[in-house]
Amino acid sequence: MTTETLTATQERARPQPRRLALGSWLLSGYGIVGYLFLYLPIIIVVIFSFNDSRSTAKWAGFTIDWYREMLADRQIILSLWNSLFVAIVSTAISTVMGTLAAMGLERYSFRGKLAVDSILYLPIIIPDIAMAIMLLIFFNVSGIGFEPWRVQFLGNRLAVPYSVIIGHVAFNISFVAVVVRARLANMDRTLEEAAQDLYANTWQTFRRVTLPMLMPGILGGALLAFTLSLDDFVITFFTSGAGFNTLPVRVFGMIKKGVTPKINAVSTLMLLFSLALIFISILLRTRAGDEEETIQFGM
C-alpha cells in the first residue's frame, strides 16, 4: 500500500521521463521487428536453398545438390552470361552519355533547359511496365532492334537482341545523370578556377581537375546502372522477343512452372551478386569520404 502510494507520487512528480523511457523501449522494439521483417524472408530463401527435399517449407536436412543442379543447368548459366553482358554494355554506354548530360545541365544555363530536364528525369518516374510496353511497340513498329548481336563473351557465344541493350540504356542514362549531377553540384569549383588561372586550357582543366574530382560520382552512377541492369526483369521481359533470357527472366519462367529449392539456389547466387556490388559501393564511398552520398545513392 505504502509503496504503491510512493510510486504514484514519484510518477506524478516526474511523469515525462518515465513515459519517454517506455516510449523509447517500444520504439526500439518496433525498430528491431521492422528490420526482422525486412531480412527474415530473404534469410529463409537462403536456408531452404540447402534443403534436402523438394519442399521450401519443411526442413529435411542439409545438401548442396540444388547448387549442383543449378550449375549443371546450361540455360541458367547462359542467362547469367547474358545478364552480365547486357549490364556491362549498357552501363558503359549510359555512364558516358549520362555523365556528359550531367555536366551540360549542371554547368550551363540555356534556353530549353527545363524541357531537357523533364525528358531526362521522366524515365525514372514512369513505371517500368509502361516503359516496357512503349519500347515493345516501338521496336515492333520500327522493325529495328530485335535482331541479335552475336558476340563471343568470355568464351561464351551469346546472341543478345539490341532492343534489350537499348532498353537498359534508356532507363540507365537518367539514373547516372542524377548521381553525377549531385556530385557536380557539391563540388568545389575554386580548384577548376585555379587551374584556369594557371593557364590550363579547357581540356586540361577537365582532364586533370574536374574528372578526378568527379570520379566517385561517375563510379557511383555506373555502379547504380550496373545494379539496375542486372536486376531488371520487366523491361527485359517485354523487349527481348522470344528465346532470350537474362537471369531474372529465366527465374521468372522457373517460378511460373513451380517452386523448387533450385530457384532458392539461383536466388542465393543473385543475392551474393547484389551484396558484392553493395560492398564495392561502400568501399568507393568511404574512399570518396562523402557522407551525403549515402542518401543520394539510395535514391
Binding site: 530463401v45 531452404f48 517449407a57 551540360g104 512503349m134 551484396l275
Partner: protein, 288 residues
C-alpha cells in the same frame, strides 16, 4: 565548329547533352507518343494495328470488367502507400534517435534488401505464403495452431504484403532524411513552452517532415500502381492488377490499341494521383 564551341557556352552545353537527348528522344519520347497514337487506332486482324481512328478503346477501358481492375489497382496502391507510411514513419524516427554511427549502419541495413533483386524478394513471399505448401501455413498446421490453411495467397492481401515489403525502404529513406535535417532546438523550444508530446509531434515534427512524407509516398505509390511482378507471382493468376491486364493485351490477346489505351490511362491515373497528393500536401504544409 571548334570555334563555335569555344565562344558559345550554350553550344557547349548542347554538345554535352546531345547524345543523351537524341537517344532519349528516339527511344523514350517517340515510343511514348506512339503509345498515345496507338490508343486511338483500330486493332488489326492478326495483331498489329489498322490506321483508322477509333475512340472505342477508351470506352472499353471503362467497361466494368476492366474498370474494376483499375479501381482495384488504385485501391491496392493507396493501401500499400498508407501501410508503408504507417510502418515506415516510426522506423525512420527510431533511426534518427540512434547515435550517429549506428544511424549510418541502420540506413545501410535498410537499403541492402532494397538493392537485392525485386523478383527474388517477391519469390521469398511466395515460398512463405502459398496455401498448402507455404512455410507459414505448413508450420502453423504442423504445430496444430490451425486446422485449415489460412487464405494468405492469391488475393489482395498477398499482393499488398509483397508490395509493402518491396517498397518500405524507399518510404523510410526520404522521411529519415527530413527528420535528420530537422532542427532539434525547435523541439526543445516547443517543450519549453509546455507543449505536450502530442503537440510537439503534430505542430513541429510532422509538418517539418512533410516533404519527406510526400517524396516517400510518391516513391511507393507510382511503382505500386504500375505493379506487374508482384500480382503476377503473388496474385496466383487470379488477383490481377492493371499492369497484368496491359501485358496480356500484348502477349496474349494481341490487341495493341487497347493495351495502349490502358497504358495511357494508367499513366494518367499516376499523374493525377501525384498532382492531387502534392496539392493537398502543400495545403497542409502551408497551413502551419
Amino acid at each position: 565548329m571548334q570555334e563555335l564551341l569555344r565562344r558559345n557556352p550554350a553550344a557547349r552545353a548542347w554538345a554535352l547533352i546531345m547524345p543523351s537527348l537524341v537517344f532519349l528522344l528516339v527511344f523514350f519520347v517517340a515510343p511514348l507518343f506512339i503509345v498515345l497514337i496507338y490508343s486511338f487506332l483500330t486493332r488489326g486482324k492478326y495483331g498489329g494495328v489498322v490506321w483508322q481512328f477509333n475512340p472505342e478503346n477508351f470506352q472499353r477501358a471503362l467497361d466494368p470488367l476492366y474498370f474494376s481492375t483499375f479501381l482495384r489497382s488504385i485501391y491496392i496502391a493507396v493501401v500499400t502507400t498508407l501501410i508503408c507510411l504507417v510502418l515506415g514513419y516510426p522506423l525512420a524516427y527510431w533511426i534518427t534517435t540512434r547515435p550517429p554511427g549506428q544511424r549510418n549502419l541502420l540506413m545501410l541495413a535498410l537499403m541492402i534488401p532494397f538493392w537485392t533483386n525485386f523478383l527474388i524478394r517477391t519469390y521469398a513471399w511466395l515460398t512463405l505464403l502459398r496455401t498448402n505448401t507455404g512455410l507459414i501455413n505448413v508450420s502453423l498446421m504442423s504445430l496444430g495452431v490451425i486446422k485449415k490453411p489460412l487464405p494468405l495467397f492469391a488475393n489482395d492481401f498477398a499482393i499488398i504484403l509483397g508490395l509493402v515489403y518491396g517498397w518500405l525502404p524507399v518510404m523510410v529513406l526520404p522521411i529519415y532524411a527530413a527528420l535528420e535535417r530537422l532542427d532539434k532546438s525547435l523541439i526543445e523550444a516547443a517543450q519549453d513552452l509546455y507543449a505536450t508530446n502530442r503537440h510537439v509531434f503534430l505542430r513541429v515534427i510532422w509538418p517539418l517532415s512533410l516533404p519527406g512524407v510526400v517524396a516517400g509516398s510518391m516513391l511507393v505509390f507510382i511503382p505500386a500502381i504500375g505493379s506487374f511482378v508482384t500480382p503476377a507471382i503473388l496474385g496466383g493468376g487470379k488477383s490481377l492488377m492493371i499492369g497484368n491486364i496491359i501485358s496480356n493485351q500484348f502477349l496474349a490477346a494481341h490487341d495493341w490499341p487497347f493495351g495502349s489505351a490502358l497504358s495511357t490511362l494508367m499513366m494518367l491515373v499516376m499523374l493525377l494521383g501525384t498532382l492531387i497528393y502534392f496539392r493537398s500536401a502543400l495545403r497542409e504544409g502551408g497551413g502551419v
